[in-house]
Assembly symmetry: D3
Homo-oligomer: 249 residues x 6
């Protein structure tokens, strides 16, 4: 039994509130247990310089935490005048993951800015961000479809993420909360598509290592967890779900 | 009649949700019309270098907006690597205002960090931040009282803030929303105490000026608006309200 | 009697030396008691990006102190790599104030850069900067008129500024020097036009508050002080004074 | 056949020159095909603040490229005034990987600074850096052993890294050069220990995904490649190889 | 005949106003032709970390220009967030030069901060800064002597600086004004002591070179010019001049 | 006899390896005793904004040290977020020196980026950088000539540099190593052309001075040393040597 009474293969409760903030084209509040992230997707009608004139779009992501999202207050990155390595890693990960399931050629010269702002943290903020950001992006493209600015839903597949890990006693577990994450020997983040393929695997054993068998068990737990996440995403986006992967224009 | 059908001396609806985020000692979500700010107060058991060894405390504030709190997405200040002049002005204002109603000598060598993060903006974010931050600070001191780390409530008076302004047609109005703020000739922020005294007056007429009469009308509107705000604050903090201004230890 | 033997409603001696530095279009040294500020106005034949193509101009201000303008040496902001919140507040204030009395539509796509550099500080540097900068700007426009680059004087009214405050014993005073400013409970900066209207009111009571009555007394003191300042400005600019507010082109 | 005529499971030639630079405690030049990295390990007799007084040590890594290590010249990060997200990711990876095979409790309050400077790049710079840095760290600890400053070799296992990937035609390959890396659908970096356990797995499919089968094939290729790397490391460090993993003091 | 009608070996008029600013321990305004620099010397009762506990002092210099000291307005270095290479070179030069004529062992653990702020520039700002800073430093030490904080004048020799150069027609000239400096093939700054020894020689021929003969002529011109500067410095510092180089304590 | 058994007028052994790194148009490793610098010259087909449209080219230089090029590890300038004054001085010197021997009008709108990266330091890194950079630039132009992108060799003369100095016992010496440099009273860097003319003289006596006689001796030593350097450069560049200074196109 885990510290919050879950089974080793149980997700925490996942809640996604659509249209959470008024201004963005797509906006959700995602809650995974006590982790809460506002994911906003903004559409801008131009692309970064390296893409200009190619007729295709771009997706980029930013990630931040409120200073007191955590047990100890963190200094604001704007006050420090620079973004930490951890933040950069996470926002690069979110951006790459989203780009892997969007047909950038079909959105014209537009940039989707995805902002994931953690307002309360209890482990798994980067995977919650990806899961929530996917929904925000679908909603934003829904707005473009409605306004007839694009002809088909550019999202090609569902996309979800979870963490898995190995506790000091060797147990592999799904969806670590903060306390588990602090103790775990191995921490792995898995991003997968609705076709059960991998987009990202990032596994790390600081001051520890893991075997090939442990890896397989973790991959299996992750696959099962992400399947449940797809259901919750599907419920949130309603009719738009059917347009994911559409090929006709 | 105003663009949102309010009377010239009407506040928008003000809503304060206490204990909004789990980790901070004091936390509220304040909603003033469509403006939404998370105000967190964190207690740290040390003071900045310039105060060390004097046995007294400090209050400092930081203010930020989520990039898409506004109609147009703003570049994150952490990405720009510096905090804008506007942000600095606002966070200096919030900190000064709170310090004017807290007996810093009675809290020991502690710093109260107040974080005001605007998640949705529709005008009046700085005054909403002050009003909400006041409640968060009271709640945080409530925790210290409960833990018997301090002996009396260090807050000496209620503190609230509103904006007032002058529309192009010369009408003075209370509590400007974003659209009104964009059009107004004069924009004034007033911070007052429960004893009806002024803490800050900041009035500005960019590309416009205002007369002594207009000033008096605006001050009167502000005083009436802030009285209503005190009632809402009082409801939110419950029994702690009675301890504000207590002198015995 | 005050620490420098002035009456409560006395200004310090104000001295403005026109054409102080050779290169700028407009340049003055303003001395208010022991406070000395070099105010230079530079005309640049283009505007910031947000104004391009609109046929109108812009005024922006920068403010700095020499490191040893003060009793204790301050670290240079260029060495720290960033501009302090205090500096930003002041330069935003100076810029706003000047723009309120200049008809930006009539100067073409030009930017007026106003640099206020305090070489010696004894309180009231921001109000001295505004008072001096006004003269520098008038002189600079005088050069443009002489060169027939513009057709009318774009300055619409006189502009002056003073500080007022409340001493710990409750006395309201005009034009605080550094020692008074350090002790005062309330510090207020007032910017007014030659038509006796307000451009900015910034009043602050850190660790103190002020009543409506005190506010009225301070506003009265300020109005009288600024009247005297207008006379000194008028003497400095000579014939250009008559062209202020001219409407024909 | 690959673009450089290697087989899909062939490493490029790996060359490690020990004691390449004079000053560092440990220094190597590692060449993997045309990729060349100088790896220096410096011992400092103190630890970062968060570890002071705990009697244990720390390892941290920095990574950089000469501006013209690549086909196109890159702007120096010191000129830009900030370190890129890519650089941060890589140096965090190198540091974590090394810490997983060093008994930090046994080195006293010392920091090992590992500097990996790429002087010529042709793909795989981060894995070459880890492989070379491991040798530099062993050599540096050799110096401490010789000087009798520590009693046992603190390195507990061998550590090596390679990249694997999937070409657009679906072929899984070992040790990608730059051209292959640019074309590959999937890029994965694997760090393993001499006991054949995983330290890090980072697999990414930007604008592509990969199946569970492809993952298994890549893991197998990586395991075989790293075995060969261990042999080359062993040759370079000579007698020190036998002290790796020693438990007696 | 030169552009300002001087002879090739004529200095411009040099004027030094002592005690120009009130607060600094030593302060002068130096005018060399139309070049005007405020040189302030501030004494701080502590030394930088690398000197602590050694019982000796330090001198460091900073140099800046007001934005409109020049014909074209320059962007403020505090706005750019970094100090230019040119500024760094000059302030390092001023600091080194002053340290060469001060017995740092005799001033205790004190730092002399020298601030050279150019308010109007017409060539030769760095040499004017050194010449003026020397006087400011002597005056500051005079204050320490008067307060009996030190026992002897720590300045060991006079110190002065001039520029020399070669015009496109091959003429060597003394003390270049801005227009000459812009045209010159060679620009050389010479710092010398009252004993006619060299402290610094910095000669540069961008897009040009100079012969050994030209070098000798320039050195001779510089030596003669600096002799005249010593006389002006001597007049400014009065009785303190006799204490320069004193050896008894 | 000197600390490394050289005579006072002996250079250390100078070794230049051409084509050291693959990617740059010109690349050398220069070794002067134990000082080792990689000098890369990169050709970019555009010029900085201030030169656009003028049909001429530009040369700029950057200089850096690996953190452990020195006995004590230095913090990376990219980590500090700014380039030190020393680095700026050196890179400005290298750029100026190279520009003095290149006919920038004849290279079209191209920029030559010269990167001097010190991988091991033992004194004289800036003069070694100039000497090596000259060769790298010649090689890079050789590539342009070969590709028929330019018609004549734009290099007009040979360029070399050495340091000279004065030891505490008054001996003038050529080519100081690090230990000598640390002890020397005077440190002078001389850059000369193949026609025996001066390009730069930078002599400095921190906490010391030097006489006119010492200056003449140092200039003579430098001239002899640089003659030897020209021979080594000539050997390295082979046939290209004959094209230096060619005037026909």
């Amino acid at each position: 039994m885990r510290n919050d009474e879950r089974k080793i293969n149980s997700l925490r409760s996942v809640n996604i509130t659509a249209n959470y903030i008024t201004h963005p084209e797509g906006s959700v509040l995602i809650e995974v247990g006590n982790t809460k992230v506002i994911c906003n997707a903004s559409i801008e009608d131009r692309v970064p310089p390296f893409l200009r004139g190619q007729g295709k779009g771009w997706i980029t992501a930013e990630y931040a935490m409120l200073p007191r999202a955590t047990e100890q207050r963190n200094i604001r990155e704007s006050s420090k005048g620079k973004v930490s390595g951890r933040t950069m890693e996470i926002q690069r990960l979110i951006g790459r993951a989203l780009r892997s399931v969007v047909d950038l050629d079909s959105i014209g010269e537009r940039t989707v800015w995805v902002d994931c702002d953690v307002i309360q943290a209890d482990g798994g903020t980067r995977t919650a961000s990806i899961t929530g950001a996917f929904v925000a992006v679908v909603l934003a493209f829904g707005k473009l479809l409605e306004a007839k600015k694009i002809k088909k839903m550019p999202v090609t597949q569902f996309l979800g993420a979870v963490s898995v890990g190995v506790l000091p006693d060797g147990t592999e577990i799904l969806d670590l909360n903060y306390e588990e994450d602090s103790q775990a020997n191995v921490d792995m983040n898995i991003v997968m598509t609705g076709q059960q393929e991998f987009v990202e695997i990032q596994g790390t054993g600081e001051e520890a290592t893991f075997t090939a068998n442990q890896l397989q068990t973790m991959l299996k737990l992750a696959g099962e967890g992400i399947e449940q996440i797809f259901e919750i995403q599907r419920d949130t986006i309603g009719d738009l779900a059917e347009r994911i992967g559409e090929t006709k224009e």
